[in-house]
């Protein structure tokens, strides 16, 4: 088993230039701001003394590559600058908000699978028939809805008209969190499900047509057992990479959904920073989210290999 994970060090090496690129883009964004970056970063708290201090610490009087190295040096020391609106280091604020967003994303992923697996199975069981068409309609509608609007509609339906769920917030206890996060997670789950359903459906169809399913049937496997042991596991493999790619999309969506439901995660932090014109905060959130996506990409490859004994990324990475 372990020799198949030989590719992991290679994969980590591959990720290094991406991480550098990500930091460079985040660094460079400050230079796209109109005017002096130090002035823009300080916003309305800019005093000549503060601007001068920031200019030296960012090295704005030095060439761009040196500024970038200074930025990297600050990053390595965990210094992401100070938030303008909170008057606190960005890193602490981001780290406080991160678990909330992670919980929301995982919750949404689970709900998305709970929605997608049965619908994909329903559609794949008889391609081209009525259930298949209904599922297709669902996916078409699902991908055509702005996520934040779906969230507002669910609030309208399940929090305002029928008062089952809270309008927003995060709650205090662990159980509270799950209750408060249900609607936002459901929103994100529904938004993600069209992609998952489409991938699962087509791989289920090809699995159902394969010879080993015929063999399993002839040995007497049927119903739920056939589905779980033989169909789902094999059909899940290509879907894992689709889910991995879309987790980034899910995180992106979570930023706006958190704003809609007033959940104190990275998204609210980012949206509030937009309203407060708090650039260091936006930079910090963008950086963390991008790093998260890079990590998820690596994890996806690992899960992919572990799920499917036939996949061997080692040879590919070594080549």
């Amino acid at each position: 088993m372990t020799h198949r994970l030989r590719f992991v060090p290679f994969r980590l090496l591959q990720a290094i230039p991406v991480v550098f690129g990500v930091t460079f883009i985040v660094f460079f964004m400050a230079h796209l701001l109109p005017g002096n970056p130090a002035l823009a970063l300080l916003g309305n708290q800019a005093t000549p003394a503060k601007v001068a201090a920031l200019t030296t610490s960012m090295g704005l009087d030095k060439p761009l590559w040196l500024q970038y190295l200074l930025f990297l040096g600050n990053l390595l020391r965990g210094n992401l600058g100070d938030s303008l609106s909170y008057q606190e280091p960005v890193l602490g604020l981001v780290l406080n908000a991160l678990p909330v967003t992670l919980l929301l994303v995982c919750y949404a992923l689970v709900l998305s699978l709970v929605i997608s697996i049965p619908l994909a199975a329903l559609a794949a069981a008889r391609p081209g028939r009525m259930p298949d068409h209904s599922v297709r309609t669902f996916t078409l509608l699902g991908q055509g809805m702005p996520q934040f609007w779906l969230g507002i509609m669910l609030i309208l339906l399940l929090a305002v008209n029928i008062k089952i769920f809270p309008v927003g917030g995060y709650g205090d206890t662990a159980l509270d969190h799950l209750y408060y996060l249900f609607l936002p997670a459901l929103t994100m789950g529904i938004a993600m499900s069209p992609t998952v359903i489409r991938s699962l459906r087509s791989s289920m169809i090809s699995v159902l047509e394969s010879e080993y399913i015929g063999t399993a049937r002839s040995k007497g496997a049927a119903g739920a057992e056939l589905f779980r042991v033989h169909v789902l596991r094999n059909a899940a493999i290509p879907t894992v990479s689709i889910v991995g790619v879309n987790l980034g999309y899910l995180v992106g969506g979570s930023l706006i959904i958190e704003h809609v439901f007033a959940i104190p995660g990275l998204g609210s932090l980012m949206v509030n920073s937009i309203f407060a014109r708090d650039f260091p905060m936006i930079q910090g959130v963008a950086l963390f989210v991008a790093l998260f996506v890079v990590i998820v990409g690596i994890l996806t490859d690992i899960v992919y290999t572990l799920l499917d004994p036939r996949v061997d990324l080692s040879t590919k990475a070594a080549a």
């Binding site: 309208l156 996506v293 990409g297």
Partner: protein, 292 residues
Amino acid sequence: MTTPTAALVAFKQRRAKTRSIKAWYRNGTLMSGIAIVGALVLIAVFAPVIAPYDPIEQHLSDALQPPNWQHLLGTDKFGRDVLSRLIWGARVDLRIGFLAVLIPFVFGSILGGIAGYFGGWLDTVIMRIVDIFFAFPFYVIVIALVFVLGSGEASIYLAIAAVSWVSYARIVRGEVLVAKQQDYVAAARLGGFSNARILVRHIGPNVLSQAIIYGMSDIVMDIMAIVTLGYLGLGIEPPTAEWGGMIADGQEFITTLWQQATIPGLAVVVTSLGLSLLGDGISDLISPERRK
């Protein structure tokens, strides 16, 4: 001898029937897509004629009316007619959605074509840059860029172009890698044509169909992005009618005037549904063998 023949005839008839059903369904997809998108484009183009009121002019004394015969969808907090704003919003959202696809399509296809055709270090460099941009979730980088670049349509185009070229580059590169192994490319090389000519004249037309198909779904993504930016108050400046901004305005009054947040969202759903159907239809026309 009659039985096998009869069976064959029946089989052929059945096949012909399923094929015609499929053909109808394909056409149906394309036709309904054309109908929906066509209707929306007409509404957008003739907005000044169709809209019953000015979308921007404020009538504070008529603010926050529920739907009635003067204002079919009611009025917002500034007394502006919601229906008129909805119609004018189609103009903004559709125009930006369609235009925003063009730059990344051209730019990404060219870079992807070069990377795939020449390979080597050029390919490595371009694809590493693509990987970097893929690490940022679409919304995060679009929101951050529009924030940095400031409000206005130009920022939206730039921000979307900066992120979405990577998808075209990936698609076109993959197609070029396959196409350059084909005999016709070898023949063109033997004919002594320049690389640029082979890439543009010979490979180009054969690989762009996938990018076009992707482009159709990309319009939907872009409209989602524009609406999301509008909802967050970024991009399009306030008095201009835009669906995302209208949803944000309506959300304030969700408990009393629920239709104000609901209907602009429905407009987005109908638009993306029409574009998806159109895209599927076009994809069937261009490459029917790819459909599963």
